[in-house]
Structures are given as structure tokens and as C-alpha cells.
């Protein structure tokens, strides 16, 4: 294997890793603030893909506007879902809250997936990418559509991290995720912060969907495989940890890029591509359930 081929694998792994990070960050943020795992996150990502498709292909807007449309549409969906289905948990209106949260988000994913299947049909759609063609960096060739998705994705991640780190609302979000009661005592409106955090987490997935749509097509099932990888990432990084989610995503991107070539039978190595992360997930949960950055709890 040549050096250029190794660089190409590493860069492709980095591109996938950035897009994984976008989805995983939303799950981590939602878990951090609301202490629930959103099992409909893959469908938020898929909704973003369709919002981008509607904006770019059907309305003829610029592909960059498609990403904005994806984020905005899924932000609104996320806010509505939080207000109607998730808020009752924190108001103490549901029994056995853990199972309620898991099952209701799973049922929501069934609803959303089949809703899009009914409206747009099972056919793959491919909206236009921000830029296309092939870019040459010495001996390394990179497809432009992937590069565009990764660059915009990286910008979104950096803006998100900066807002979380330095803005007032970012501080409020971090305060609520550390201690709901204390945050409330200091005058933070935890209702609004919760809705905002859920909606932003959803919007990140929506943005990722709109970015990936032009690369891998928009189909109703597009979230199924990806979201499971995002779960792997947040568990690996430590549930609710923001740096953990980014690091976990970059690690998984590289694992998926390099492990297939380490397996002697290449066809089989590719066929199992989606399973490597799952093995990582099971190992982390069994050996170190708090993940790389998570806080250790007595009950994992």
C-alpha cells in the first residue's frame, strides 16, 4: 500500500468523521441537558435531507440555502417534539420515565420514516451539491461534493462549540446539563433551555442530512444506519460529553476507513463495514460504560 493511498484513506475517514460528529453532537447535547437518548435522531437527520431536497431541487434555491433550510426545518420539528412529548417527563406527568422516553422517541422514528416514505416515495433523490468535480492535492484525489459537505460541517461544528463555550445561552445550556436544580435556582429558565437544546441538537442532525443528501442520496431509510453509528460515538466518547462526541466521531471515521483493508478478504471486509462500530459499542458498554470522557455513575 502506497503512502498516497494511506493519506487518502485517512482523509476520507476524516470527512466521514466530521459528518458523524455533526449527528453525534446533537445526541450528546440532548442527553446532556434532558438526560434522554433520542431514538428518533436518525429520522431528524433524514428530515434535514428532505428539507434540503425540497429547497434545492423543488424550489431551485442555492445548495447552501438547502443546508440552512435543513437546519431550520428540523429545528422547528425538534422544538415541537420537545414541547409535546419530552416536556411531560420533566413535569413529572409520566410514570416510568426512562422507558417512556425510549419508546416514545422510537415510535416517533417509525412515524417520521413512514411519513416521508408516504410523501416522497422510496426512490432516492439527489439534490445538487455545493460544489462538485474532483480536487487534486498532489497524488491524493478527493471528490468535491464530499469535501464541501465536510468543510461546511466543520464550520457548523466550530460555530456550535464557540456558542456553547462563550455565549450566554451556551453557558445556560451547560449549567442545566450539570445541575438542573442549581441552574433553576440561579434564574435560568430551564424549560426554555431544554426546548432550545433539543431543537439545536435536532438542527445539527438536520444540517448533516442536508449536507450528506447530495453525496449519498436522500432516502427515507438514510438515518437508520447512520444513527446507530452516532450512538456508538456518543457511548465511546461518554454520554453527554461534547468533546467526547467529536473525538469519538473522528475515531470511528478512521476505524471504518482502515479496518476493512486489514481484513484479508476485501469483499467480506466491506460487507461488515457497518458492524465494526457496533463491536466497539458493545465493548465500550461492557468494559467502560462511562466512555472516554463520561462521568462515572454507580448505575451505568
Amino acid at each position: 500500500m502506497t503512502f498516497a493511498a494511506i493519506i487518502e484513506l485517512a482523509v476520507n475517514g476524516l470527512i466521514t468523521g466530521i459528518l458523524y460528529a455533526l449527528v453525534a453532537l446533537g445526541i450528546a447535547l440532548i442527553f446532556g441537558v434532558l438526560k434522554i437518548v433520542n431514538f428518533a435522531h436518525g429520522e431528524f437527520y433524514m428530515l434535514g435531507g428532505y428539507a434540503g431536497y425540497v429547497a434545492v431541487t423543488l424550489l431551485g434555491l442555492h445548495p447552501a440555502a438547502g443546508v440552512v433550510a435543513g437546519m431550520a426545518a428540523v429545528f422547528l420539528v425538534g422544538a415541537a417534539v420537545e414541547k409535546t412529548l419530552i416536556k411531560p417527563i420533566h413535569l413529572g406527568k409520566v410514570e416510568r420515565a426512562d422507558e417512556y422516553a425510549i419508546m416514545i422517541t422510537f415510535a416517533l422514528s417509525v412515524l417520521l420514516l413512514n411519513l416521508m416514505l408516504s410523501i416522497f416515495g422510496p426512490w432516492p433523490q439527489r439534490p445538487q451539491a455545493i460544489f462538485s468535480g474532483v480536487f487534486e492535492f498532489g497524488p491524493v484525489l478527493l471528490p468535491g461534493d464530499r469535501l464541501a459537505a465536510a468543510l461546511v460541517g466543520a464550520i457548523i461544528i466550530l460555530v456550535f462549540m464557540a456558542v456553547l463555550r462563550w455565549s450566554w445561552i451556551g453557558m445556560a445550556v451547560r449549567a442545566v446539563s450539570q445541575d438542573r436544580g442549581a441552574a433553576q435556582a440561579f434564574g435560568i429558565n430551564i424549560d426554555r433551555v431544554s426546548t432550545f437544546a433539543f431543537a439545536i441538537g435536532a438542527a445539527l442532525a438536520g444540517g448533516a442530512g442536508a449536507l450528506i443528501g447530495p453525496v449519498f442520496n436522500v432516502v427515507p431509510q438514510m438515518g437508520l444506519v447512520l444513527v446507530i453509528k452516532a450512538y456508538v460515538i456518543v457511548v465511546l466518547g461518554g454520554m453527554g460529553s461534547i468533546p467526547g462526541a467529536v473525538l469519538g466521531a473522528l475515531i470511528l471515521g478512521q476505524v471504518e476507513s482502515f479496518v476493512p483493508i486489514l481484513i484479508s478478504d476485501p469483499a467480506r471486509g466491506m460487507a461488515y463495514r457497518d458492524a465494526y462500530g457496533l463491536v466497539v459499542l458493545v465493548l465500550v458498554l461492557l468494559v467502560r460504560p462511562q466512555g472516554l470522557f463520561g462521568r462515572k455513575e454507580r448505575r451505568a
Binding site: I102, M103, F106, R268, V282, P289
Partner: protein
Amino acid sequence: MKLTAPSSFIAVAFVALCLMLPFFGLPEYWLYVVSIGFYYALLASSWSLLVGYVGRISFAQAAMSGFGAYVALLTSAYLDLSPLPGIVIGALAAGAVGIVVGALTLRLHGAYLGLTTIALAEILRITATAEHQLTRGTRGYAAPPLWEGISQTEYYYVFLAVLLVSLGLMLWLLHSRIGLFFQAIREDEDGAASLGVRVTLWKVLAFALSTAFAGLAGGLYAHFIQLIAPSMMSMQEMGYVLSMAVIGGFANVIHAALGGVLLQLLLEWLRELGEWRLVFFGAVAILVLRFAPNGIFGTLDNWASRRAR
């Protein structure tokens, strides 16, 4: 569940109706549909055995059904067995996987357990797809009928018998001391342990029973539809099972089973609506979870007992 509860009347009336159904001169097609309803009823009730009574969530129920089906077909093909011993081996193998998974995940709760079981289910589905020289991948693996010249009516009664015996076993277990141990673990694991309940044993046993019933359902289903594919292990199938158990009422195995048959009938009856059916079921499942967490049959029982008082 008291025997005077309306859902018990519904269940008894339903069983009576099911026993006589083939004599009503229905087209064979509807016997086929109801038989598949029995398959989902067994899956939904075995899922609720774990979720409703022990409080442990699993997203691997459809995958374990598929696993049981593949093991049943492959062992009977390679060891040259007839279908029946194959189905038993499939169910036992699924139960064995349940023991391993149950033991490995003892420390995990709630969402973490959900994620681990999703990972397990997907690993199984991907393996069944990737090992196509063994399973023929997405093209599907053909299965022989249960026995030569079996009729639709005979299939129907086999399914009904397996469902009723399985439900009987589950109910017997849940009404014994073990059922109380399960519920004690659900309500307060540490409290139960401090009172001498062998928490580890019963948690693993619950997992193993739930997966074994799923494997049994899968093996039987494989010889019924005679072609299985990795898609029977998908998260979409799991979505069906979850909606059925939730809408019927996952706190009670009978309610979950009724939900399974009811939804399968509705799915078939509303066929021309296409995927809108699943949009509708997803919405109903959400409404039920939010406003009537005991499911439609559980809520009916609560309402009746409140009126009787």
C-alpha cells in the same frame, strides 16, 4: 389481571372465535393473515414479558426471531433433520444467546441497554446479509413446509396452539413467585436484592425466556412463509413489534398479544393506504404512550374496575 376484567372477556371470546374461525368459510388468504398475526402476537408478548414485567428494554426481539429462524433452517438443512426439531433447536439457540446477552448487560439500564440491544440486532442482521454463501443474503433462504401437503388450516391451528401454549407458560410463570420477583426487580432492584431476591438469576432468566420465545416464533414463521431474509431482523420489524405491544398494552402479555393480532389485521385490511398505515400506527403508539400508558386493553380494564367500585 382479574378474570372479571373486560380484557379477559375479550381474550376468551377472541380465543373461542379463533378456534372456530376456519369453519366460517373464510378465504384461505385471511387464515394466512391471522396466522401471521399469531406470529406477531408471540413476538409482542415475549417482548412485553421483558419490558413490562422486568423493566428491561430490548430492541433485539425481531433480530432474535430472525436468528431463531436461521438457526432452525440451517441446522435442519445441515443435520438433515425434519423441521420440528430444527425449530426447537432454533428456540434453544435464541435462548442461549439471551443468557449470554442477559449476563453481559446485567449492569446496563434504560437507554444503554436499548443501545446495546440495537447493536446486537444490527450485528446479527449484517452478519446474515454478509455471510451470503451460508444464508443466501438478501435473496432469502428458502424453507420447506412444516410437513408435506400441510394445508393453510393446519398451519393456522399449529400457530394458534403454539401461541396459546406459550402464553399459558408465560402466564403460569408470571403468576408464580418468579413473576413477583420480576416485578420486584422492575420496581426497585436494590430493594429486591436486599430482601433476598436473586436479581442476577431472574434478570438473566427473563432475557433468555424472552429471546427463546422470539426464536420459537421465528422458526415457525420461517417454515410458514417458506422464505426468510435478513429484513425480518430489521429495526422496521422491531418498530412493528413495539407498536403492537405498546398499543395493546406492554404491561401485560395478553394485552400485547391482542395488540399483535389486532394490528396485523388492521395492516392487512387497510392495505391500500400503503405506508400511511405505519404513520398512523406510529402516531397511535405515541398517543397511547403519552395518555394511556397501559395500552388500549389495560386502559379498558382500569376504566371498568373504576366503574365497578
